[in-house]
């Protein structure tokens, strides 16, 4: 009897304990950080990471498009190759899917729920922009299956580039609708809390959206059935109207955490020297502009110790032999010795400083797009006007700022700005290249791929003498998706688009095809 009583008592005691234990055990929400935050707190990191993503991958894309080359000879990227089993060239992938990704979805949800139409517009636009950049770099990407919530889903199929291009248009249009709204909780002060890029100016964002649409539409120039030059021109006309609209990202630049990836404190560019290609374009030795020395030469490019401006030829590196004295060697974009970390106190130069700025889309860039569209259409007068505006805009950009005298002389030179009749495609493309040097890697690469690295369009452009072994002699067309995301964990989906082929990076993208 006693056993039963006692056991009964113990069990009752236990039951009482357990009823209150759920509360005692409710401690599994991470106390170290919030699990829900408003849109304003989500935007800045996304803007940042998009910029850093471009900058990270620019070390490699910058070599493909011959902005710069490695100080060491024979580096795979200078042979239009890639580093196998490496995440190199996969940073934008990380920025878009992870740093944008669900953060952006949450931003959009919060904005929609709180009638923050400005945040909603920017959020949608960031999505559109992310997809545009990513598809231009990698081709097919995960779109419809991205961010699936099922914890047991492990394979994420790729969408065609055509689908991504359509999605970008859709998102941009929805963004514009929202950016047009001034009702609800829309306020410049509120948007400025999270918006590092435009400090809350939603109208500039709207122009940015049109700029993105222009880029999207213009990339289809090789597709006779889809390309509409008038549409491109219309988009450009709704986009930036002056340098004041430029999307320039300025970093705090106080430490490695908040500095530009291109700043000396981050120590990422010490092995890259400006290319022979850009050097010859600016110093007048490239025949495209009739031997005119560009006033931007000493502003954009770095001067060697002996006062000369030199470049590295793709794949050849910078000799460190004693016969090539230090003052005659190419220097880093900061003007410091190649191959070693910048000495303490290096501030950098041009846009290569800790604070930047880093341009993301500029008025000049869009004017060149307009010029090319008009040129293709056959409207040479419009083409020339936009071409001239593009050059002038870049010469007067705050980070270039060529003196008025030099600017006037340059623009007045018929070898640079010819008559409408004499305007040539290579001039448009090369001036666009110059205006995008050091930041517009993605658009430069899109241009080169549209014309398949044609030296008649990109005068003076040479291809590697020896391609990377797996190129099988073909030019580079895309970066392979991020290795530790896709090759290791999504190989089945990747296989379906041929991503496991060793020469996948030479497979042309949809947008470059007729």
């Amino acid at each position: 009897m006693q056993y039963k009583k006692l056991t009964g008592l113990l069990l009752t005691g236990l039951a009482l304990m357990l009823s209150s234990c759920n509360e005692y055990l409710d401690i599994n929400n991470n106390p170290n950080n919030p699990d829900k935050v408003e849109a304003a707190l989500l935007l800045a990191p996304i803007e940042n990471q998009y910029v850093l993503g471009i900058q990270f991958d620019a070390r490699y894309i910058g070599s493909y498009v011959q902005n710069w080359h490695n100080a060491t000879s024979g580096v795979v990227w200078d042979a239009q190759g890639y580093t196998p089993s490496s995440d190199a060239g996969g940073e934008l992938w990380r920025s878009v899917y992870w740093k944008g990704g669900r953060n952006l979805l949450n931003l959009i949800d919060d904005a929609r729920a709180g009638q923050k139409w400005d945040y909603l517009g920017v959020g949608l636009l960031m999505q559109a922009w992310g997809w545009q950049m990513l598809t231009d770099v990698h081709g097919e990407i995960i779109l419809s299956e991205a961010y699936d919530l099922d914890p047991n889903k492990n394979t994420f199929d790729y969408d065609t580039q055509e689908a991504v291009y359509a999605r970008v248009v859709e998102l941009s249009r929805e963004a514009i609708q929202n950016l047009n709204r001034a009702d609800g909780a829309v306020s410049q002060a509120a948007l400025a809390r999270g918006d590092v890029l435009y400090k809350g100016d939603r109208l500039k964002w709207k122009k940015f959206a049109y700029g993105l649409l222009a880029i999207n539409a213009h990339h289809l120039s090789k597709k006779a059935s889809l390309y509409k030059p008038d549409q491109v021109i219309a988009y450009v006309d709704s986009a930036f109207t002056s340098n004041a609209d430029d999307a320039l990202f300025t970093f705090n630049g106080l430490s490695t955490a908040d500095a530009s990836f291109f700043g000396p404190v981050r120590q990422n560019l010490q092995v890259y020297g400006q290319s022979t290609f850009i050097t010859r374009l600016l110093d007048g030795t490239n025949t495209a502009f009739g031997g005119v020395k560009d006033p931007r030469l000493p502003i954009m490019l770095a001067t060697s110790g002996d006062g000369q401006i030199r470049g590295i030829t793709m794949g050849q590196g910078q000799s460190t032999a004693a016969s090539v004295p230090l003052p005659t060697r190419v220097v880093s974009p900061w003007g410091t010795q190649l191959g070693i970390n910048p000495p303490a106190g290096t501030t950098g130069r041009y846009i290569f400083t800790d604070r930047g700025p880093f341009p993301l889309m500029t008025y000049a860039q869009l004017q060149f797009i307009k010029a090319e569209a008009a040129f293709i259409k056959g409207d040479k007068a419009t083409a020339l006007a936009a071409y001239r505006k593009g050059i002038e805009a870049h010469l007067t950009a705050p980070y270039v700022n060529v003196s008025a005298t030099d600017r006037a002389a340059y623009l007045a030179n018929p070898a640079v700005v010819p008559t409408a009749e004499n305007l040539a495609l290579n001039q448009i493309m090369l001036q666009k290249y110059i205006a995008q040097w050091g930041w517009g890697f993605l658009e430069q690469w899109a241009d080169m791929r549209r014309y398949n690295y044609d030296a008649s369009v990109f005068t003076g452009l040479t291809l590697p003498t020896t391609f990377y072994i797996n190129n099988n002699g073909k030019t580079v067309q895309r970066l392979r998706p991020r290795y530790n995301s896709e090759y290791v964990w999504n190989a089945d989906a990747l296989a379906k688009i041929g991503g496991l082929e060793l020469d996948f990076h030479t497979k042309p993208l949809w947008f470059t095809q007729p």
Binding site: T7, M17, L43, P45, S85, G339, W489
Partner: protein, 1011 residues
């Protein structure tokens, strides 16, 4: 008064009834008084007592005897050994003592004395070889290194595989701080501190071996039936020393230590700095021309390392009456490693007491205070070892500063390695801790069939960690003007449990039932701060850093568990015992719907010798038992895995973003099921014994942490219930006492362990689980493939044709490597053996322990590094032209007539030859070793010597050597080191050797004195 007058001195001798050997240390107490003593080294005692009083004489492992004092002044007692082990008692879960014969699963005990006598600072290292089925690995040979203990193999792919540590019935923390708790995890990429470069102590090693009475190792999840989820990997149950009743005793032990480095890798000293046969000082490659004969060469490594010294002192007082006892001990350990500046200091103060307040109520309590101070040097890439080996032999490494005080470099360019002298003198890696472990327990006997027990424990510690990289350091901190990471952790483990034990006998059937509840509450908080850009490069303080660079990080981890358990034991006629347990846990780490989980166990013990008639077989086989058990246990998830939180961003504009890991709102407990069969046999009154066990553990719904996934999820990692794996093994322990003479004895034990494991299932679509922390050099990492063991390494291998020939580049004549990771090695040994011997000749004893391993692969990443940089002695034939065996990848490689490679390479002129080799080349296969873990010679001063002094009751002098030699077919340093620390889960980094300090050879000498 009259009674006192009748007091007289009784003397006598306590011997063993079996062999007439004296029993030193037996307890002699006058019943009902505070008077008591212990026997000396020769079994003799003297005590004051009165006629009619009773002396109680007891000794562990023997039957206690009471002798009433009559007229005789001399009382000699022969204590009977409990040879049948029938009454042998072990401490199991909850501090419950159970008779060993009743247990249906394997338990092993190690005497605290053996641990203390091994003279290890970290008692865990003394367990290696002493217990079958237990593998202890150290992360390096530096003082205070963390030790990983794996009982019965790997049960968790990514989670913790360390056992639960229990002191006097209550769990304590065995935390090793993980590098992601440092504020450097918020610094820019490339600046963070990683588990593979730093190594902080694991907290279980705080316990003073001299305070340990015994350690019971509960190997399987059977232990978990009563300890809950935490013990799913087994438990190490520590019982601390308590005071013994009788006259107060003082004992003092010391030892003085010298240590020398273990085997270091050899480097070539023929060719100098350079590339392709041309002298070049832009990097550390030793592919340059031959060093001119009259150049001075330096023995940089030998000059750098020192002879480490150390000392230990332990002083204890104990005593008491038969109702109250106390014990106070103080221990101090100081050990300086072979690398200058490294040291480990520990102070332990322990106070314990027991009290029988009434006949029904007894209490006991211990409180331990521990202070530690440990200085190490970073390991892995840029470690002192790599620096030491890479330093050009033509340069004096000790000359590490320029005349102006700045760092002197051996290269120009970006590839400088850290000068080890600079590293030890200018960088800092240090932890200092204070800890209190205490617990109070009580038993109340309500009736002879009912006992109530309760116990409360607290483990509180705070440790301060410092990582400093000098502004001129070559490490990541150097390039940003110096970096200081500082963190203080605060741990509070609060545990409480109470249970009722009911006992009743029905004829030949003894039944007992235990019902109880436990609450474990874990709170671990780290406050970390970091600063960069030192104002004064040589001053170590966060105040000395640029305020603009300062970052802080606060981390709180909380976990709670409530368990309710029951344990029923049915013992029929001391022959068959059936034990059934059930436990339900409620863990805070799961979503509400999966929070509660139940797991049962059953075990059966059958002492079949009880049924045999006396004589016949019984004469030889004195004891025989069969064991069967089956048990299940759930395993917890890491905290905060079910919902996600944002992380504060330090990029321009600040804000929040998600961290790497996706949340899993449907996480559920891992289920581990274990089946064990075994036997214990004792022959010839225990002169020879066998303990054998076979077990198989299956773990399903593995909680796989930090699984890499496609970024298409929006995250980088996720935590899922995915894997299924099994793990089995054979454990065999043979004990023998071949010689048992009054003046000469020999005991020997052989512990044999063989394990195997298999990864049977991963999440759909996944074929490999790997640990990125273990990828310390080039492309080899701890990776498990579906259908393979959990102990494999995956990595970079050669590209081969269908026939298996290595493919050669037609351009260079050098081999091509795969772009995907293949399984390249299995680290699991074929078997390991511990071989323990102890000899006694009169007052002299000799003990030694061999640790033997057969098979298992080791990745010699150090050699890979040396080879690729031309430092390896294997590169000495570089002037010999050669053709790499293989076929050209010219399109014909898979045809019937592939082109054999005929391209000749002279590595001297083309050192790409050395870097073109696949990483798999540096896997050393089937590594065996024989290691003398420990050898002790001890001389007990005979009573004839001690008697004259009248001060000392006992005294001995000893010499102990640790890791004195290592015989191995491994070509590198020490194959037994680990590339990561125990904060890394899963099968960790054992079998990966990169820049690790081999275990040092340690010589200890000291004395033991008893007053």
């Amino acid at each position: 008064m009259a009674a006192l007058a009748q007091d007289r001195t009784i003397s006598g001798r306590v011997t063993s009834a079996d062999d007439n050997q004296p029993i030193p240390g037996a307890s002699v107490v006058v019943r009902g008084s505070t008077r008591g003593t212990t026997t000396d080294a020769n079994g003799n005692f003297r005590i004051q007592a009165t006629r009619g009083q009773a002396l109680r004489i007891s000794f562990i492992g023997t039957t206690t005897q009471d002798v009433t004092i009559g007229n005789a002044d001399v009382i000699n007692v022969a204590l009977k050994q409990e040879a049948n082990a029938l009454n042998e008692v072990v401490v199991t879960a909850l501090g419950i003592e159970r008779e060993k014969r009743q247990l249906g699963y394997a338990v092993t005990e190690v005497a605290g004395q053996d641990l203390a006598n091994s003279q290890r600072d970290n008692f865990l290292n003394a367990i290696q070889g002493r217990v079958a089925g237990v593998q202890v690995g150290t992360s390096s040979g530096m003082p205070g290194s963390s030790s990983s203990v794996i009982i019965r193999g790997i049960n968790s792919l990514s989670g913790n595989n360390q056992p639960l540590y229990v002191v006097d019935g209550m769990p304590i923390s065995n935390n090793t701080i993980s590098s992601n708790n440092f504020a450097s995890s918020r610094a820019a990429s490339g600046q963070s501190t990683e588990n593979r470069t730093v190594d902080f102590s694991n907290r279980a090693q705080d316990i003073n071996p001299n305070d340990i009475e015994t350690i019971t190792i509960l190997k399987g999840p059977e232990a978990a039936a009563l300890y809950g989820v935490e013990a799913a990997n087994g438990a190490i149950v520590i019982t601390t020393k308590k005071g013994r009743s009788g006259q107060g005793r003082i004992s003092y032990t010391n030892s003085f230590t010298w240590q020398q480095t273990g085997p270091l890798p050899k480097t070539q000293r023929v060719y100098g700095q350079g590339n392709n046969g041309v002298s070049n000082n832009t990097n550390f490659n030793a592919f340059g021309p031959r060093i001119p004969e009259n150049d001075t060469l330096y023995n940089n490594a030998e000059n750098f390392l020192r002879t480490g010294t150390g000392q230990r002192h332990n002083l204890s007082f104990d005593g008491g009456t038969d109702r109250y006892t106390y014990r106070l001990s103080a221990g101090y350990t100081s050990s300086e490693g072979v690398i200058p500046t490294t040291d480990y200091k520990r102070l332990n103060i322990t106070l314990g007491g027991t009290a029988k307040l009434t006949d029904k109520l007894s209490l006991e309590s211990t409180i331990q205070y521990i202070n530690t101070d440990n200085r190490k040097v970073s390991k892995g890439a840029n470690s002192f070892l790599i620096g030491m080996l890479s330093w050009p032999v033509t340069d004096d490494m000790s000359n590490y500063l320029n005349p102006d005080g700045s760092r002197r470099r051996a290269t120009v360019g970006n590839t400088e390695v850290e000068n080890p002298y600079f590293d030890i003198n200018k960088n800092l890696l240090r932890d200092r801790g204070n800890r209190v472990v205490t617990n109070v327990g009580g038993n109340y006997t309500v009736a002879d069939w009912l006992t109530l027990s309760a116990r409360v424990g607290l483990d509180a510690f705070s440790t301060q960690y410092l990582i400093k990289y000098h502004p001129e350091s070559n490490r990541s901190g150097g390039v940003i003007g110096g970096a200081l990471d500082q963190a203080t952790d605060n741990n509070r483990t609060l545990t409480a449990q109470y249970f009722a034990t009911l006992k009743r006998t029905f004829g030949k059937l003894d039944a007992s039932l235990l019902v109880g509840q436990a609450i474990y509450d874990y709170r671990y908080e780290v406050l970390a701060t970091r600063g960069e850009k030192f104002l004064d490069p040589n001053f170590t303080s966060i105040n000395n850093t640029d305020p603009l660079t300062q970052k802080s990080l606060s981390t709180l981890r909380q976990r709670r568990l409530i368990g309710a358990f029951a344990n029923a034991t049915l013992d029929y006629d001391n022959t068959v015992t059936l034990t059934l347990t059930g436990r339900n846990d409620w863990s805070s780490t799961f979503p509400i719907q999966n929070r509660s989980f139940f797991y049962p166990s059953a075990s059966l013990s059958f002492v079949f010798t009880e049924l045999l008639p006396d004589g016949g077989l019984r004469k030889a086989l004195s004891y025989g038992k069969l064991r069967f058990s089956a048990a299940q246990v759930g395993k917890e998830a890491p905290e905060y895995a079910t919902t996600q939180a944002y992380e504060n961003q330090t990029t321009t504009g600040g804000g929040f973003s998600y961290g790497f890991t996706a949340p899993n709102p449907v996480l559920r407990p891992e289920k581990v099921t274990s089946v064990e069969v075994g036997t214990e046999l004792k022959f010839f009154n225990g002169r020879f014994g066998i303990d054998a066990a076979y077990y198989r553990t299956t773990s399903v719904a593995q909680i796989i942490r930090d699984l890499r996934i496609s970024y298409g999820t929006g995250f980088v990692l996720k935590t899922i219930n995915g894997g299924k794996l099994w793990n089995n093994g054979i454990e065999l322990s043979l004990t023998a006492e071949p010689i048992r003479q009054p003046n000469f004895g020999w005991n020997t034990t052989i512990n044999f362990t063989k394990t195997d494991s298999r990864l049977e299932q991963l999440a759909p679509g996944l074929t490999e689980f790997y640990n990125s922390d273990s990828n310390v050099y080039s492309n080899i990492r701890n990776g498990s493939r579906l259908g393979g063991p959990l102990t494999t390494l995956t990595g970079n291998s050669y590209l081969r044709n269908a026939k298996g020939d290595i493919l050669i580049s037609p351009l260079s004549g050098l081999p091509l490597t795969e772009t995907v990771w293949n399984v390249v090695a299995d680290r699991n040994p074929d078997f390991v053996v511990g071989f323990l011997n102890s000899f006694r000749y009169r007052d002299l004893s000799l003990n030694f322990l061999f640790d033997i391993r057969k098979g298992g692969d080791v990745y010699n990443a150090t050699e890979s590094y040396l080879y690729r940089t031309g430092l390896s002695t294997k590169t000495l034939d570089r002037e010999t032209p050669r053709v790499f065996t293989g076929v050209l990848k010219d399109g014909l490689e898979n045809s019937d007539t592939p082109t054999r490679n005929s391209i000749q390479v002279v590595p001297y002129y083309n050192n790409n030859f050395y870097t073109s080799l696949a990483d798999e080349t540096f896997i050393e296969r089937d590594i065996n070793w024989v290691r003398l873990k420990e050898v002790t010679v001890r001389y007990n001063l005979p009573t004839s010597v001690l008697g004259r002094s009248r001060i000392f009751k006992s005294a001995s002098v000893f010499f102990t050597g640790n890791d004195l030699f290592l015989l191995t077919n491994y070509t590198g340093g020490d194959p037994g080191v680990n590339a990561v620390n125990t904060a890394t889960g899963g099968s960790g980094g054992f079998g990966i050797d990169f820049g690790n300090l081999p275990l040092p050879r340690v010589f200890n000498a000291g004395i033991n004195i008893g007053l």
